[in-house]
């Protein structure tokens, strides 16, 4: 009963202020908990492992590609292009709205079916709404002579893979 007596005999105003304190404590920590839960939810929602094909693509041996040839690998959505200077890889995804572009040999350019963007063989935009040229992808030769393309790393244009 000691509790009771104390509270009964307590001065109203400091009683009130104590209540005020506890209320603030309660609501405050609930607020914090809510905030924490938000960040917790964010952490939870961002996956730690992905079930996606690896960004590194094995494009096979060099001699599969003739000089001045443009080869589209629809699965990994990249162009494998061999020119005099060597090899380079472009993404086949249009920089406008992500449609899959197509190589038009008769025109000698890369065309996007969706909104008519046109790119030349080096990826520079020739026409259409596309905001950026097609990015060049990092390309190298593996130990056993296969051409490897990393779709996740973009390199500045005109860096050819010399053979």
């Amino acid at each position: 009963m000691a509790e009771d007596n104390k509270s009964r005999t307590a001065e109203p105003e400091d009683e009130i202020s104590r209540r005020a304190f506890f209320t603030k404590l309660g609501l405050g920590s609930i607020g914090l908990a809510a905030a924490g839960t938000m960040s917790f939810a964010y952490q939870y929602m961002s996956p730690n492992v992905l079930y996606e094909p690896s960004p590194v693509v094995n494009a096979g041996k060099v001699d599969r590609y003739s000089i001045d040839s443009v080869t589209l690998d629809p699965v990994s959505a990249i162009y494998l292009i061999r020119v005099q200077e060597g090899f380079f890889a472009l993404t086949a995804i249009c920089t406008h709205l992500g449609c899959m572009t197509a190589w038009k040999p008769e025109l000698g350019m890369i065309a996007c079916p969706c909104h008519g963007s046109r790119f030349n063989r080096e990826g520079q935009k020739l026409a259409g709404p596309a905001p950026k040229p097609l990015p060049w992808l990092h390309t190298w030769l593996s130990d056993d002579g296969d051409i490897m393309v990393d779709r996740s790393t973009v390199i500045p244009a005109m860096q050819f893979l010399r053979i």
Binding site: D4, S29, I30, T37, N48
Partner: protein, 685 residues
């Protein structure tokens, strides 16, 4: 009362004015919410990644290692194989060549293997639970289909999931597979392989249809009681029969035996010779090279000889002389399927050999076996036991049909869930230990079990366990691109009359032809294109050995000239291989200069004398066959082709491929073709 009063008071204190407890409770709530993510943050794998970073931090190659290091959970995902491996999360240095000196797990470098780690993942070979990111769950989870880690000693089993042929890197697995076939495991246990085929036994359990002609009931009894006490190399396991059971089974087998077609000459002569001249018998035994297949115990007490046929140390105790004689005369009459060749011995030779063998007895084996005449009940009970123990699975027994899948199928034993295993008390509760124990002490796993007792050494048990552990579920669901074509099984039989002759001689017991046959003697598939007809004919008449280093030699069959001619013709015509054109290289008559040049490179450039001998006086080469008479034996075309690429003609031969130029090859061929001096003499003889 006091207590309850207190409780009531405290509750009142709590609920009189909710604000205060509300505040406090909210604070605790906040703390509680803080715990969960914290626990998640201090996870095992983070601890190991930090430890790894500390490890590589002050190495000289730290830069490279840190560049390769990927924080967070690492995973190898192979959808077609159903593999999700997160082992690399902790085993960060797995593929780091620089860490070869690091012994502390989980950071060591993976030892070199013929496969890429990322291409096959970890669990395919090591098992364990790939998805797990905690040590305990990853390594010793036992929930099917997650299995505990496969101990290193059985690792070869993992190779066996895809590779069904013998690999040079997996001796243990190969041995285990051979044992499965040789010790009759696959007689009772069906083992289906992913390619749809079934594992075939390689042993030859004798038919018991006419056993009464062959041996005595006493011997059967003693043998049943303990086969290994008759001969240590016996492949028949011990069924741990009680005296009565052994008695009844022997009674049944004798009673059940029927007369075979074999004609049994009464062996007056033999009994005479047995006492007469053992040394003659011994020499005949020797020059017939029986020891190539049959072992005997020598004076020193160690068993020497081949293991293709049964050990003959105590044969005299085992078989009746008249049976032995008729068997030696023509084994096929008694056991049509046997691989014992039909030597064409003369009656006198037969007597000698019979006498010699009949004298090889350890009479104390059956010494203290005394059996009363069998009663019908015993015979009936014997029949019951024979059916019960599945004797008919291996042996052909009159009136008892071979039971189908007599014992549990083992096609997927390698991934049997622990939940389905029944362990004996006190044993390690793992699948490998279960298999080992089951092989060593089958009867410990409960009364009424019929699996017999084998006498295996612990390496043999390891090998068998390894072979069994390779029979997994996964091996049946391997992705297409991983499957390795298992070796072709051929059931080639020589055709025609010569074929019949070769069947009688059981050439294929030792020689492989067109993919079928033993590996004791050279593969004859290319014989026709490699040797001279005349030489072959001579050889069949008197098979002198090509390789003095070998114990095993071709026995001499008393072939008639017509038989030899027939055989020679057949071999010369049937066993040709394409690409060897006899006319391409001149068989004889090359210029002496060329021969001399050949001699030069033979001795200097290629130093063939290291392994071969041409001139017995100076050469001592002992690895390859002597080439003193090679000219009269081999065709020039064959020698030429052989020199250029031996492995193409005989895969796996140890003669190294020297990529010889055509000129060198021609010169050497000329030189070797010139080596036929002794050959001529032989031809004359």
């Amino acid at each position: 009362m006091q207590a309850s009063n207190k409780i009531r008071l405290s509750w009142r204190a709590l609920f009189r004015d909710p604000i205060r407890p509300f505040g406090v409770a909210s604070l605790f709530l906040l703390m509680a919410f803080a715990i969960a993510p914290a626990k998640d943050h201090f996870s095992e794998w983070r601890h190991y990644q930090n430890a790894y970073l500390r490890l590589i931090h002050d190495r000289s190659d730290a830069g490279t290692l840190q560049r390769h290091f990927r924080p967070g959970i690492q995973q190898i995902w192979l959808p077609e194989a159903g593999v999700v491996d997160r082992c690399k999360t902790c085993h960060e240095g797995m593929a780091e060549a620089g860490l070869v000196d690091v012994k502390t797990q989980p950071f060591g470098k993976h030892p070199p293997i013929p496969h890429s780690l990322t291409e096959f993942g970890c669990v395919v070979c090591h098992r364990g639970q790939g998805v797990a990111t905690t040590v305990a769950e990853a390594h010793d989870s036992t929930l099917a289909p997650e299995e505990p880690l496969l101990p290193a000693r059985y690792m070869e089993a993992s190779c066996g999931q895809c590779h069904h042929e013998a690999l040079s890197g997996t001796p243990k697995l190969n041995q285990g597979r051979v044992m499965l076939a040789r010790y009759g495991c696959v007689h009772c246990h069906t083992v289906k392989l992913p390619d749809g085929s079934t594992m075939m036994p390689s042993d030859e359990p004798p038919p018991l249809t006419h056993i009464a002609e062959k041996t005595s009931r006493e011997w059967i009894y003693a043998w049943l009681k303990n086969p290994q006490s008759y001969s240590a190399t016996a492949t028949m396991p011990n069924f741990l029969l009680s005296d009565d059971d052994a008695r009844d089974i022997s009674a049944f087998l004798i009673a059940n035996s029927a007369a075979s077609g074999a004609a049994h000459a009464v062996l007056v002569a033999a009994t005479a010779t047995r006492t007469a001249d053992p040394s003659a018998g011994a020499s005949l035994y020797g020059e017939s090279f029986c020891a190539s297949c049959h072992a005997t115990q020598n004076a020193a007490g160690d068993v020497v000889g081949g293991d293709l046929g049964p050990e003959l140390t105590g044969i005299g105790t085992k078989v009746k002389p008249e049976w032995l004689r008729s068997w030696l005369r023509n084994p096929h009459e008694y056991a049509p399927g046997t691989s014992m060749p039909q030597y064409r011995w003369t009656d006198q030779q037969l007597d000698l050999l019979t006498g010699f063998l009949a004298a090889k007895s350890n009479s104390d084996f059956t010494a203290n076996v005394h059996l009363d005449p069998a009663t019908p009940e015993q015979i009936a009970h014997g029949r019951k036991l024979v059916a019960e123990y599945g004797c008919a699975v291996c042996h052909e027994i009159r009136g008892i049909r071979k039971p189908d899948n007599f014992a549990p199928e083992l096609s997927r034993i390698g991934s049997k869930p622990l939940a389905q295993l029944v362990f004996t008390s006190g044993m390690n509760q793992t699948l490998p230990d279960y298999l080992a124990a089951k092989i060593q002490h089958p009867r410990d796993f409960g009364p009424g079990l019929r699996m017999p007792q084998y006498t295996f050494t612990s390496p043999q048990v390891d090998a068998l366990s390894t072979a069994l552990l390779s029979l997994t579920d996964r091996s049946f669901t391997m992705p297409q691109q991983w499957q390795v074509a298992s070796p072709k099984r051929s059931n080639y039989q020589p055709a025609g009359h010569a074929g019949k002759l070769m069947a009688d001689l059981n050439c294929q017991a030792c020689h492989r032809m067109n993919g079928r046959g033993g590996d004791m003697a050279p593969d004859l598939s290319a014989e026709g294109s490699s040797v001279h007809r005349q030489w072959l004919n001579q050889f069949l008449a008197n098979p002198n050995t090509l390789r003095p280093a070998l114990i095993r030699r071709m026995p001499r069959f008393n072939l008639t000239d017509t038989e030899r001619a027939e055989l020679t013709d057949y071999i010369m015509t049937a066993y040709q291989i394409p690409g060897i054109d006899p006319d391409a290289v001149s068989d004889s008559g090359s210029s002496p200069a060329l021969v001399e040049q050949g001699r030069q490179i033979f001795y200097s450039k290629y130093a063939c004398q290291g392994c071969h001998m041409v001139d017995p006086k100076q050469d001592k080469g002992y690895v390859g066959p002597p080439l003193t008479t090679v000219g009269s034996r081999l065709t020039a075309a064959w020698i030429d082709a052989w020199l250029k690429n031996p492995q193409a003609l005989r895969p796996g031969t140890i003669e190294p491929n020297r990529d010889m130029s055509d000129d060198d090859a021609r010169a050497l061929t000329a030189f070797l073709m010139a080596q036929k001096g002794s050959g001529k003499q032989e031809a004359k003889r």
